[in-house]
């Protein structure tokens, strides 16, 4: 019978699978893509000259905390959606926590700033470039995550694509922090988040096409 022959041939090639194979593969895709993003930003936009000084300041760590916490949350969701029996995602609302905290910080900053300066604070010097740069820097990471997904079994492809896009966008934004000199919370809240949202939307759009198995 044909099915028996198939089983025999499948069972001929049984390599042991490590326990955390999914996490390991995702980590390889994430780190691999992240390194490419880092190289890309160094070769194109360049690192901000005062990076070491900025790293002693508050606003730099606000940006990293925001983007990296969002990225970690998204990668956990993405790892979950890699399994066919992902079920309901009950803790999805936790992803809104970094956004809400940043918004609170933004309000606090605005209350300490004269209203006449609000527009300058919001637009900064680079609002036109920021979302695009975040989106571009997220692409290598997104490709790395898609590579990892080639051996996974997602059953909700749109959600998995959105999760991978969100993770890539957030880590791409974290990479962008080493170039971007902007300091205000409402700038980050608006323009970084816009770039991350674009990456998420892109993931949701192409997930069903590229994640089929």
């Amino acid at each position: 019978m044909k099915t028996d022959a198939l089983i025999r041939s499948l069972a001929e090639n049984v390599k042991a699978v490590p326990r955390y194979a999914v996490g390991r593969r995702l980590a390889i895709g994430l780190v691999g893509g992240g390194v490419i993003s880092l190289v890309a930003i160094m070769l194109s936009l360049g690192i901000r000259p005062d990076l070491l000084l900025a790293m002693q300041g508050f606003s730099f760590w606000v940006k990293w905390t925001y983007t990296i916490s969002l990225g970690i949350g998204a990668i956990i969701v993405t790892a979950r959606l890699a399994r066919p029996d992902a079920g309901r995602l009950r803790h999805l609302w936790l992803l809104a926590v970094p956004v809400a905290l940043l918004a609170l910080l933004g309000v606090a900053e605005m209350s300490r700033t004269p209203p006449g300066d609000w527009l300058a604070m919001w637009l900064g010097r680079s609002w036109r470039d920021c979302p695009r740069n975040v989106l571009l820097l997220s692409m290598p990471i997104f490709v790395g995550l898609l590579w990892a997904y080639r051996h996974f079994a997602p059953t909700n492809l749109r959600a998995a694509g959105a999760g991978a896009g969100l993770a890539a966008g957030a880590f791409g934004a974290a990479v962008y922090c080493i170039h971007c000199p902007e300091v205000s919370a409402i700038f980050v809240l608006t323009w970084y988040t816009l770039g991350i949202a674009l990456a998420t939307a892109l993931g949701a759009l192409i997930g069903p096409r590229v994640m089929r198995w």
Binding site: T3, R19, R83, W213
Partner: protein, 179 residues
């Protein structure tokens, strides 16, 4: 005899650790489960179902890293099977109206019925083998009487009589257990 969730899960974990013999036994044990799963859900030709069973076995093999050892194996298996079925419908553009789509998409129902089937196996185990096999073929796996007769190498009337006697014994036994 069909394996239970615990057996299947232990076999899967042994397979993940690289035991080829147990892994082959697992794949063989999945075949009747998958056949029953697809037969209940689609009215396709026998070939379609066998194709899907094979595709699912391949998916189980290539995607086995996504099975989480701490979670139920059958839930994982039927999630893979369901995805393959939906994918099959999409590819074949076979837009037949499906009644009760929600039921098809929900795995839990099938797990319950699988558990029910495991109880069934226990009951069938007490019957004479010929009767048990005839019931399994015709009532659980959905073979026709002629197919069952061919499988067992006995006459069609023999199959019918075996099913009848077996069910009668089972009914009596279940009534007895309730009392």
């Amino acid at each position: 005899m069909r394996a239970s969730e615990d057996d299947l899960r232990a076999m899967m974990i042994a397979g993940l650790d690289g035991d080829a013999a147990i892994y082959a036994a697992l794949l063989s044990a999945l075949v009747p489960l998958l056949r029953a799963f697809y037969r209940r859900r689609m009215t396709g030709a026998q070939d379609d179902i066998e194709d899907l069973v094979q595709e699912t076995l391949i998916a189980v093999h290539t995607r086995r890293a996504t099975y989480d050892r701490d979670r139920a194996f059958t839930a994982w298996l039927f999630a893979v099977a369901r995805y393959k079925m939906i994918d099959h419908f999409r590819r074949s553009k076979n837009h037949c109206p499906i009644e009760g789509l929600e039921d098809i998409l929900v795995a839990e129902g099938f797990e319950d019925s699988t558990n029910a089937r495991m109880d069934m196996n226990r009951l069938l185990g007490d019957l004479p083998p010929k009767q048990a096999r005839a019931i399994r073929h015709t009532r659980i796996e959905g073979l026709s009487v002629a197919e069952a007769a061919e499988h067992a190498g006995i006459g069609e009337s023999d199959v019918k009589v075996s099913v009848h006697r077996g069910l009668k014994t089972l009914a009596a036994r279940i009534m007895g257990e309730r009392r």
